[in-house]
């Protein structure tokens, strides 16, 4: 579920023709450009490592993330085999950090997938049909803009509870609006191209045109926004945990570790410094990949609606 959404395998420049060969070479050139960007390419490798660590956390983590040792609370790093010491309940900080990575990546990818699906359905529909559907979407997005996204997420978590599933939905549902607007803008642009007209003139149906012709040509900009939205979702997950509205304990999350560790920050600063460092590196890696993709497949032709 994870790797496919991030690897830059499918972007097609919206200006390239439907001619498959030129699309392929455009893709190849974009990939070459991406590889030349050392920061972005390094980030991609780092993200690969992160995904492997997240998937392999049960085998890689030296200890259990739930097991408490009330006699060994708040141990300093490198004591009793605890690489980063223990937290206020005597749980191994390093292991909890790894499992937090798992939580963050899972929720980040899944929430963005939810947002993307909703955005695609609504954006394609509104862009293609126009008229009342479109103005309804636009007024709805206007209202959603008045809602800060975290506020909406918090309300949804309050309703649905603090399960992983609920939090994925809460972040995803709060985040689809911007992307729906982008999809719509793309559709509006592409739908006037000649090849769409050609398809229509030979009697192709609306759904077929949208899926076969418009969607593939709108992938480029979407890929870029998606790569920026995933770290956004990861930040949102930690933010919710920070407010005490993240995944229910004992499932670890960076936000939860930070807020717990904050109580002891004067005596044990590593309790927040360690998760903070891994958290920042993860978010930055994603962002730099996004930057690289944007530069490589530069398809943003000033089309924000």
């Amino acid at each position: 579920m994870t790797a496919t959404t991030t690897e830059p395998i499918e972007p097609v420049d919206p200006h390239s023709s439907t001619n498959h060969e030129s699309a392929q070479s455009e893709l190849g050139r974009g990939w070459a450009r991406f590889k030349r960007n050392k920061l972005a390419f390094g980030s991609l490798i780092f993200m690969g490592v992160l995904i492997v660590v997240a998937l392999g956390a049960p085998w890689l983590a030296p200890m259990s993330y739930t097991e408490q040792d009330l006699t060994g609370r708040l141990l300093a790093p490198l004591t009793d085999g605890h690489l980063l010491g223990t937290d206020q309940l005597g749980r191994d900080v390093f292991s909890r950090m790894l499992y937090s990575l798992r939580t963050a990546l899972m929720i980040g990818f899944a929430a963005e997938l939810v947002a993307l699906l909703v955005a695609l359905v609504i954006g394609l529909w509104a862009g293609w049909r126009g008229g009342r559907t479109e103005s309804l979407l636009m007024s709805f997005t206007d209202v959603m803009y008045a809602f800060p996204t975290y506020l909406f997420s918090v309300l949804l978590v309050v309703i649905m509870g603090r399960t992983v599933f609920a939090i994925i939905l809460a972040i995803g549902i709060a985040g689809w609006v911007t992307q729906a607007r982008l999809v719509r803008a793309q559709v509006l642009k592409i739908k006037n191209f000649e090849y769409v007209e050609a398809a229509r003139s030979i009697g192709t149906g609306g759904v077929a045109i949208t899926v076969r012709h418009i969607l593939p040509n709108a992938v480029g900009p979407l890929l870029v926004t998606t790569s920026f939205a995933i770290p956004g979702a990861i930040i949102a997950e930690s933010g919710l945990a920070l407010l005490g509205l993240g995944v229910a304990p004992p499932t670890p999350s960076w936000g939860g570790m930070i807020v717990d560790g904050y109580t002891y920050v004067l005596a044990h600063p590593h309790l927040i410094a360690a998760p903070l460092a891994l958290f920042s590196l993860t978010v930055l890696a994603f962002t730099w990949i996004g930057d690289g993709l944007r530069d490589a497949f530069d398809s943003s032709e000033e089309d924000s609606a």
Binding site: Y145, P148, F228, L242, G244, D298
Partner: protein, 368 residues
Amino acid sequence: MLAYVARRLVRLVLSLIAVSIITFGLLQLVPGSFSDLAEVGSTALGDQTSGDGGGDSLASRYGDQVPAWEQYARFMTGLVQWDMGPTFKYPQSSVEELMGEAFLVSLSLAVPATLLTLLVAIPIGMVAAVKKDKLADYGSIFTLTTIQALPGYLFALVLVLVFSVGLGWLPVRGWAGPEYMVIPVVALAVQPTAMLARYVRSSMLEALRDEYVVAALAKGGSRRTVLVRHVLRNSLIPLVTVVGPIFAALATGTVFVEVLLGIPGLGRLFTLAARTRDMPLLMGTTLFFALILMVMNLIVDLVYGLLDPRIRHQQRTSSRWRRPRRAGLLPASQLVDSRTQGGRDDGGGGSETPSPDVSAADGTEVRR
């Protein structure tokens, strides 16, 4: 102009009503009714439910026997009269009292943070624009994009680690005096500064390409005069659209910093209400947030129109959905992407546009 303002005000009220209905509707889905909450006795509700039932008590407002629409109507009339009644968690004090106090606290952080942002961001952006394609430009742009990618509360934590834990200069958490304001204000200003500086930079680069700059230089104006008198002035107009949302985001979006540092502001109140499922307080704070943001956006659009006659004209004639592009509430990264991307400002990467200094001097710049 008046018609435009009136139309915008009507839309603002309608949007606010929509937000209130969505919020109220969502809160109806929250598991556990008012009476359940009272029975559990987690709050000070016990005596309220069984109590007199008359007047302003919680049970008469939110009890099981009161239909949902009536609860909603009563709350909304209360909102208009600024008398929203007691909350579940604090039956002794009213929603508006709690919100008023908390808002003052948030405001006392947001105002200095906004000022700090303006003071720091504009010079940084100017320097980056003037030194385009030089090390100072690349360095600052890279730093700024990095800052923007990270969550805002991270900077509060870093500041705490450095100045509270490391140096022991500032308190770790609480709200008891001016020294408690330093870390939150600086932390809150970091991200808006990064955003604004990038705006200043791209806005100035755009202005530098304009013909009147060439003309001013040709007439013998010194570079400094041209920069300050012409370029800066013109490039500040679009910035109005960003400052408004920045302030609004600061006045409302301090949630994480407030919760982390234990500051009794609006964001913390909202979080508290959410955690305790305090319906009236949650309604009140949510609507208040939405109101601030909408009013801020409206003011920005109006000021923008006042500053730029072209836009004023557009406002007069525009259809319902077309209006000046504003920053809105997009997350910072997307915001900057959508507005400054256009192939021009790619975050310090290799840009093909010639240096504005060169193009301004020989005047051969072909506008894109």
